[in-house]
Symmetry: C2
Subunit: 99 residues, 2 copies
Amino acid sequence: MQNNIFKALAHPDRRKVLSLLRSGPKLAGDLAAEFDSSWPTMSRHLSVLKEADLISAERQGNQILYRINTSVVEDTAGALLAFIGVSQNDNDDYEEAAE
Amino acid sequence: MQNNIFKALAHPDRRKVLSLLRSGPKLAGDLAAEFDSSWPTMSRHLSVLKEADLISAERQGNQILYRINTSVVEDTAGALLAFIGVSQNDNDDYEEAAE
DNA sequence: TTGCTAATTAGCAAAATTGCTAAATAAGAG
DNA sequence: CTCTTATTTAGCAATTTTGCTAATTAGCAA
């Protein structure tokens, strides 16, 4: 559901999470430490990103490791380029009406 | 600011506007006619897109012509790719990295 | 079991977004 | 000037998002 993706990207802290994950997977706690917001707040940001499939989570014992879903980000950038007529594949995707 | 851009993209109707403008500039009325929402609602969507600099408006007598700001959309797609480490440097290895 | 750390969920209030109708503005025609 | 058309702005209610604190779950170890 593409709408969730764009909504997830609409918050600066969530974009910063993606930026941080760019250099590799990170533990939830290490991510949260990079922000001023409270842990629960960051936890929700992470769940929004996960819901949008922009990141995925893997439990490692006590902690949870997050990693960026590169292909989804890539596809979204592609969708954006499609708006201006740059079609890289034949994936001319817009057909979403409303929600 | 970039935040406005992603926020503007977070609504399906606003993305549809961009999609419609892809084939060329359109009058506000013609755009509004493509949606179920009321005219004032569409007018606000247009103003959000304009605020984000994703589209620009030009008055033509009685009516207002909207066009997509291609470069801004392009830059946003580039910013998205940057999250996954693809640098869209004008100079060299764009092709290589985009692989 | 208890205790500790990591992370999420629950619940609430403040803020922002959405979409409507009604009113206002802008430009042209007569 | 008035009238008509095109579009935006004002103002309001419903919904969604945000961020907090407090409570809860999950895993691990003694």
